[in-house]
């Protein structure tokens, strides 16, 4: 008997924890029209981004795949694609990529509608219609094996690696043990832990892949810093990290790794793709909070759990981002932004095990509809597609 949550079953069998309409621009030029459409219709979310034009090769491919995968995420009952008309990654290609999910799907192209006002009008009508249909759908009980959580930490301090991340690791292990999925990422913050992660791989090929993607990320960083005109920009960890007591990237990596608990790794996910099997995965992404969670949502994550020691308010459009801090002072200061106080371990009010269970129970409740603070306050900064240099 596994735990369950109340979710929205989609046409393709996947399960959403939210029931929203996504308004996705295929190119940055249509971002404002997409925003205006979403502004008019409650229950919709826009995905403003700066990409989709003048890109080539793998960089454009990752943008294209990620936008398609965002549209496929089961938290969205329907998608309105908004294009300009002359962009290299066409809005029809974006819609075609989402179509196999059989969810509600429409495309509005500004240059075909006439102008931005007419495109807003047309998009608003289509979004309104979808929203009305979606509003009728009911939640149903589904096993936790239908859940995929993204793990990401930002604004870390020593309490992240010591309390919040290990407690989240316990919660992540509970999801994975019951057939669910969890995604660790932030490769720039896993340098130096590849041998430990590889030990936890389910097969030699997964172990090799883990070492390979981390090695590639380190090479990329070396390349980026080799001829830097400002040496002060070469630090991989931030001033806040240093002030908090972290002295090296490896020290940060070891704490970062603890978010994934002790479960074995089932595979490595390429950016803009989804895993082939369930279980714990490593996503190939740099450590930027937005790039990480965007890659996780593209992989199918319906919830992101986000430890933050120093405290960050950010969220993701249409995806609950559950904030956990290991720092009791940060919790007191940022109560309106942070959902769970894992600093109770430090103050002796809670054990690590109890905190893991508290985070796990909160994940189940959020999956069943309980809103997180980032959602209520409208935080949506984390949608941010990675670029290939």
């Amino acid at each position: 008997m596994t735990d369950t949550f109340m979710g929205y079953r989609r046409e393709n069998g996947k399960v959403g924890v939210r029931n929203l309409i996504a308004v996705i621009p295929s190119v940055f030029c249509s971002a404002k029209v997409a925003e205006r459409i979403a502004y008019q219709v409650p229950g919709t979310v826009p995905f403003r981004h700066p990409v989709g034009c003048s890109q080539v090769g793998e960089d454009l491919e990752i943008t294209a795949k990620t936008l398609i995968q965002i549209g496929k995420n089961p938290n969205f009952a329907g998608v309105v694609v908004v294009g300009l008309g002359c962009e290299r990654f066409s809005p029809y290609e974006l819609a075609d990529g989402i179509a196999p999910t059989k969810k509600m799907l429409e495309t509005v192209v500004i240059q075909e509608e006439g102008d931005s006002l007419q495109a807003i009008q047309q998009g608003t009508k289509l979004a309104r219609e979808m929203q009305q249909k979606a509003s009728f759908q009911q939640r149903e009980e589904v096993p936790i094996s239908e859940l995929m959580i993204g793990l990401n930490c930002g604004g870390s301090d020593m309490t992240s690696g010591l309390f919040a991340n290990p407690a989240l690791g316990i919660a992540s292990d509970k999801v994975v043990e019951q057939g669910g999925s969890s995604i660790l990422s932030e490769l720039t913050e896993l340098l130096g832990t590849e041998h430990i992660l590889a030990r936890r791989a389910m097969s030699d090929s997964v172990a090799n892949e883990i070492c390979e993607v981390i090695q590639k990320m380190e090479n990329r960083l070396l390349q980026q810093t080799k001829n830097s005109s400002n040496k002060n920009r070469n630090h991989l960890i931030s001033k806040g990290n240093y002030d908090g007591g972290l002295s090296s990237v490896v020290e940060k990596s070891l704490g970062s790794m603890k978010k994934s608990g002790n479960a074995p790794f089932s595979g490595v996910i390429r950016y803009g793709e989804e895993p082939k099997v369930k279980g714990l995965h490593l996503l190939d992404s740099p450590g930027h909070d937005g790039e990480v969670t965007t890659g996780q949502v593209a992989a199918g994550a319906q919830i992101v759990v986000f430890p933050t020691g120093r405290g960050t308010p950010t969220g993701f459009p249409g995806i609950p981002v559950l904030k956990v801090t290991g720092n009791p002072k940060t919790y007191t200061k940022m109560k309106e932004n942070i959902d769970i106080n894992a600093g109770k371990i430090l103050t002796g009010e809670s054990t690590m095990e109890e905190m893991g269970e508290e985070i796990y129970q909160e994940i189940l409740q959020v999956a069943s509809g309980k809103t997180v603070k980032a959602e209520i306050l409208g935080h949506d900064e984390q949608f941010c597609i990675t670029r290939v240099p």
């Binding site: 070396l222 070469n234 960890i237 002295s247 002790n262």
Partner: protein, 110 residues
Amino acid sequence: MIEKELIVYMEQETTAGEKNSLVIDARDNVGIALTDLKVGDMCLVSIGNKVVQVELRDDVAFGHKFALKTFAKDESVYKYGEEIGKTTSSVPIGSWIHTHNMYCDRGLKE
């Protein structure tokens, strides 16, 4: 199969009766301040089965590390049971350990 990688030991009490520091893994050679500690403060930490008392030679802020032994130059610093860097000089027991006396080849090029 689930493998337990790291264990947190944090049952040490100070004379004031509060936990003021901890050691994460028995292989570690640094302790971590759980509150803002001052020069001369005594830290009682358990490392595996044994208990070690360390008198601080520096102020050590919340979350920062202090030496549990005297380090030679270029000696490995262990936290989470893994190497997080090496010392840039000899470091006496009880000293604050941070970027001023520790370096790490990975991820940082100056």
